[in-house]
Symmetry: C2
Subunit: 442 residues, 2 copies
Amino acid sequence: MAEPAEPPAPLRVALAGLGTVGAGVIRLIEANAALIARRAGRPIVISVVGARDRSKKRPVDLSPYAWEDDMVVMGERDDVDVVVELVGGADGPALSCARTTIEAGKALVTANKAMIAHHGLELAAKAEDKRVALKFEAAVAGGIPVIKGLREGAAANAIERVYGILNGTCNYILSTMEDSGRDFADVLAEAQAKGYAEADPAFDIEGTDAAHKLSILAAISFGSRVDFGAVDTSGITRLRAADIAQADALGYVIRLIGMAETEGAAGAQRLFQRVQPHLVPFDHPLAHVDGATNAVVAEGNFSGRLLFQGAGAGEGPTASAVVADLIDIARGEIGAPFSVPVAELEAMPRAESGHRMGRAYLRFMVADRPGVLAEITAALRDAGVSIESMIQKGRGGEAGEQVMVAMVTHEGPESAVSEALRLLEGSDSLTEPPLVMQILGE
Amino acid sequence: MAEPAEPPAPLRVALAGLGTVGAGVIRLIEANAALIARRAGRPIVISVVGARDRSKKRPVDLSPYAWEDDMVVMGERDDVDVVVELVGGADGPALSCARTTIEAGKALVTANKAMIAHHGLELAAKAEDKRVALKFEAAVAGGIPVIKGLREGAAANAIERVYGILNGTCNYILSTMEDSGRDFADVLAEAQAKGYAEADPAFDIEGTDAAHKLSILAAISFGSRVDFGAVDTSGITRLRAADIAQADALGYVIRLIGMAETEGAAGAQRLFQRVQPHLVPFDHPLAHVDGATNAVVAEGNFSGRLLFQGAGAGEGPTASAVVADLIDIARGEIGAPFSVPVAELEAMPRAESGHRMGRAYLRFMVADRPGVLAEITAALRDAGVSIESMIQKGRGGEAGEQVMVAMVTHEGPESAVSEALRLLEGSDSLTEPPLVMQILGE
């Protein structure tokens, strides 16, 4: 009789960080152990865990695992093949942990979008040098395998544009405002009470989190260097219930959209990246993405429009993405973290937005007195902005009350709208700065 | 100075079959050669092509490539690393080509859903034995990377249910009927004239094509053996414009849905597979999938609901999927074709549908005379089917004309509906057999 084959060695995982996602990873690896081993070709086991505070009460039993106080040295341990970094924060212990892990020749999996947006190129170059895997599926759009979808599934395509709904908190707030007719501050407070929004929600509602994710998607889609600093970012804090009602009357919903696109000929391309609330037509697939869901659209030159949709955050979905990366690593998949080696990523200068053609929604809060509308429309005319439809709301209140004037422009360059707003700057007819949102086109 | 590194050897591709998709693969590999080489780590080149008829005029220039008359021996040529089989048909030359290629120790990429549904297990076992890749992303849902999404992206999950819109021709016909109010035969004829439907459309409109794809998705999702023969299949040929209008009035669209699900405890699972027109609620993401688009939903035990959507067919999208497979092969990705080795796939017995709980749409065409409605409702009552709403249409025409009676049931077992239909069998009140469609639930 032949000797039985040696059973394959398990992949030994260190977990750095034991918050919600860390607990989810432990639960997933325990619950789905048998099928993971079958699909990975070998078992995936947690060997060691660590977090800032060992004494904290946690929802999972940590007794089967070794404890490591110093997350930075986890990757140097002999009983670890791969470190999962779930500490968070662009710098600090997360970055130190990532650097030492890769320098020790171990693979790194992370859900840390801020760290990848700021230091992804440095870490990827190190990982390529050491021939180890660096994977971050969970950093973008939670449980949706969109990094894999772009990096591998759409690998045959030149991606022409990538855009989507990248922040579940904002989408929850916007779709709740839409359903309830309530105002931003009110819905935000409720979302915080329910745990859907952080106590300090700035990263989400000001668009930073979506911008982190967009800069990572852009690099993978276009083979460009990650350039988080060049993302033109605005959030949802200035939206009013009236904007949403107005958009609805015109056939649109409002969604915070991250969009990236290249311009110019191959070899001399510029990169456009923007996070901004958009008006999305009812018949666009993104108009039906409600609640904390995320969705990413990629337009390939052969595939056409691909849509990936699912839960953008949460314990289970994020753990699903982390463990998918671990399975790839167990199978021996290394590959360039950004699809092509860092040395071959193009440094694309930032593309300006002025020449971009499109339709826009403009909203002015103005003093309720004669002549204001004439002043605004004159500025638009002088800047060459053509108005498709206009609604003046709230007139007829007390004297001196402010009035909302909303309009949609015809197709034209964004620079014309900017010029009109420049002409109106400092006008005492405006009671707050105008709000501009692009209308998502085909 | 160091010697320059040896450039990596190209991956040499043989194309068997030069129809629409073959032409698309040639165009794609030529147009995107530079980015493919960057992402694959080495060039991908076509070395040899072949088709049934060399003299046929084709839309791409074949002069750069060697010609091989006998597609069956392509894989045995020294100038070929991988064969792309685009001949079509479950058996015959496609299957011979696939077998000889794998036996020669070469990788095989195919878009042939019929062959994979019927012979995928045999071919995968051979490929595992020879340690070569067998890949078929293009066989399911065209350009959407759903095989990769399930096999790798969702690999950490036990998939609880997989379902979707798997046939673009049917979806084009249904959404056109919806938009235009026209009847099935009329829209089919137009689709044929426009080239959206085959001259012999039976494979599409009777659900066979969707069933091929569903059986492949089920195997990958559940780790079960491909069992095309066990798919309960019905098509869209019996649908009337009135059904679509009726569904619309009730808040639904009609879509041909392929659905697979397991039942029972691990190790003793049964497999449910069905292709059937369903009523899809307006607020479900699949209700907004129009035209020739495909979409697949997978529900994982940690990821939650994932949705993949895009073009389900066509030259560009299908070529995109074929070349994504080639890039994986160029990167050295082999892996088990069905995610786990064939020997470990479970043979799951077919699950019956009788105990499945759900709501259904029932439509009867009946003689326009007194007592017919009482007869139908009595049968439903005797079988324990509870009616939520009912509409009788078409009454008031000439005497003897047939009348349509449509209803939606409350939640109940499918066996009760079957029993009611059995009680009505042979009744001369019915002018044609009743039509039953399930309502897609959460």
